[in-house]
């Protein structure tokens, strides 16, 4: 409902922000009346909300959009990116770090990459251990048989 409301004078329904400041009085939203006034929409999303944005906003109003999502959700948005339904995608911590590098302002995303790197290496270590255990268990089973 909210996504469609933006199509025509959204401030009739959503006239204030979360601290009750009127959107019409903010420079950033003062001249925005509908999707026609938004050149590029950037959404920080999780869950299936991107599907709704694409279905209700991009498909119906031809709105240019780009999204920042969690790494888990990024694969769900890949089809929309490849088909050109969304303009760009900042996927997970890696996407955030890449974006920070692109604009030359390293921040939280870049700082978080070492932690993610070690987490990935730990999981790979578990996979290797699991497979070694599996291999030797099977080998021993064959020898006993």
């Amino acid at each position: 409902m909210a996504l469609e409301q933006v199509a025509a004078e959204y401030d009739k329904e959503y006239g204030v922000d979360y601290v009750d400041l009127p959107l019409r009085e903010m420079p950033v939203t003062a001249d925005i009346h509908s999707y026609d006034d938004i050149d590029l929409l950037f959404g920080f999303e999780h869950g299936a909300v991107i599907d709704y944005w694409v279905r209700y906003t991009q498909a119906r109003f031809d709105q240019k959009m780009t999204f920042g999502t969690t790494a888990v959700m990024a694969p769900d948005a890949y089809p929309y990116l490849q088909s050109g339904q969304i303009e760009g995608l900042v996927g997970g911590l890696k996407g955030a770090a890449e974006y920070e590098t692109l604009i030359g302002q390293p921040g939280l995303g870049t700082r978080g990459m070492p932690a993610q790197q070690w987490a990935h290496l730990l999981v790979i270590g578990f996979i290797v251990l699991g497979n070694l255990g599996y291999y030797f268990t099977r080998k021993r089973g064959r020898r006993v048989a």
């Binding site: 469609e4 601290v19 694969p75 890949y78 990459m113 790197q117 578990f126």
Partner: protein
């Protein structure tokens, strides 16, 4: 009559919603907004029924001293406390979502840390699952295992440091096989949803009436 009227309401509502999706202008655009408001109201009542059912089930468990009663007690206490602070926030600040509202205090200092804890615990489940699931049992499982390792290495700096192959291969896996599978699932799910919707609109699927 008992069946015809609900079927007619279902058909007309679905028909108008489909038309309004493709014609977002008056009078259909307005009608769609109105129907969405009705949907929100009906959803509110459905949620109320859900809360009632949840409350009764857990209260019964506490009264009958069944296993897990302490968890039920924690759930009911949390439910009541959240409801009370929500009402206080509404009365005092006009909305429970006001930043000074006690509801937002519970949300910021209760729910968010608990969710963070849940996510942190997920790391151990993922580690345990990767240990058990990615075993080279056969060719398909080995392919999955190799793909997982390439993606995990390709998405962190050490992958590129080892070899440029990892980020490139990671990108290819995500852009080609992953995307093909994802798109297949999405198209399949959409076709399923369309066929089920048509069955409901045309009155072929009537299980919701029983």
């Amino acid at each position: 009559m008992k069946r015809t009227v609900p079927l007619l309401i279902t058909f007309l509502t679905g028909f108008f919603l489909i038309v309004s999706f493709f014609v977002p202008h008056e009078p259909f655009g307005q009608l769609e907004q109105r129907l969405l408001v009705w949907f929100a109201i009906v959803s509110g009542f459905a949620m109320l029924l859900g809360v009632d059912s949840l409350f009764r089930a857990h209260l019964r468990r506490i009264i009958r001293a069944r296993e897990g009663r302490w968890h039920s007690l924690a759930l009911l206490l949390s439910l009541v406390v959240t409801l009370v602070v929500g009402i206080i926030g509404f009365v005092k600040f006009g909305s429970p979502f006001h930043m000074q509202s006690p509801f937002m205090f519970v949300y910021t200092y209760g729910i968010i840390p608990l969710q963070a804890t849940m996510f942190a615990l997920l790391a151990f489940y993922i580690a345990s699952a990767s240990y058990r699931a990615f075993r080279a049992r056969n060719t398909v499982a080995t392919l999955l295992l190799v793909s997982a390792v390439i993606v995990m290495l390709g998405r962190v700096p050490i992958g590129a440091a080892i070899s440029q192959f990892f980020p490139v291969a990671q990108e290819w896996i995500m852009d080609v096989p992953q995307l093909a599978a994802k798109r297949g699932i999405q198209i399949g799910a959409a076709l399923g949803a369309v066929s089920m919707s048509l069955r409901i609109l045309l009155g072929i699927e009537r299980s919701y009436l029983s």
